[in-house]
Amino acid sequence: MNLFIKESGLICLLALFLSLLTWSIHPGTPSYYKVELEDGEILLTIALQSTDPVIWIDARSKENFELDHIPGAILLNEDNWEYLLAEFMEKWNPDLKVIVYCDSLLCRASKNVAQRLQDELQLNNIYTLYGGWETWTIEKK
């Protein structure tokens, strides 16, 4: 009986050790304590508290944009960069904080669009929304 308890305990310890090891080295492990933002990323709560005027850029597909989008957002994606860029610039002014979003945490479209705005137009005051449209729909429900 004692041997059984000892072995069971040892197995539990080993299982705990393995799960902690996986948690610590797995690249997909979520952060339980704080959100780690990449350069230029902004949290929705911070974006909504901003006193600066904001222009939202929707970097998703045209189809998704037409289904629904953040009120006032402008479509600007790399499917049709040139024409959409011209439309965006008609509405841009240097006092605006630009926040770009795409589908979710996994997409990179907002990062690419933000990078091109910086590289091609030398705009600053550009951010990408952490969690993208998915976060907006969850927090605004």
Binding site: L14, E82, R108, L121
Partner: protein, 215 residues
Amino acid sequence: MKIISLVLIIFSPLLLQGQMQFQEIENQANYKFGDKEVRRIFKFKNDGDYPVTFNSITSSCGCTTTSLDKTTYLPGEKGEIEAIFTIGQREGLQRKKITVLTDDSDNSRYEFILEVNIPKIAEINTRLLYWKKDESLDPKTITIDFQPNEPIKITDLKTSNDSFNLDMDEVLTGKKYIILVDPGTARNSKNGNLLVKTDFPKDNPKIYFFHLRVQ
């Protein structure tokens, strides 16, 4: 002995791999100027001893679609996932993640990367000519340096606001152009777009927009 057996049982999930064996998980696609899309194939084989069904295949970008001949693969059966990446007006290094979910209890998730490097057709110094409130109204320049080896012509140049005067100089034939934009002398706030049409690629000539603004 009992301990060793039990430890092996604990470790065994780490040693197991899924039944589906893919030939590669990163696939670099070649691109040439003018391509509208890039297609790549990810080949796989069911190396296990029971059938595996694909539940879903998703991409990190709406620009990448995938297709599969069928969803269930018997032991020993081979198959292919075709990924089609639509270029649109993208530039630079593109890395699109494709996630495959199967009903294989040993390993139900696989991830692939489709990588395409899309070179710029032109190096352009800026897309925005902006005269700030306290800035003198001196003309500004746009430099367009075409990258392909073959010569490229600028076939049209026009603004949506005629109060901006334009002058174009072909510095290097079919290769490098400088466009001088003069906002005029009147100090009033105005803006406009500048449209530059080229003759490359032949079947879908590239158009560039620039924004002009005086504050």
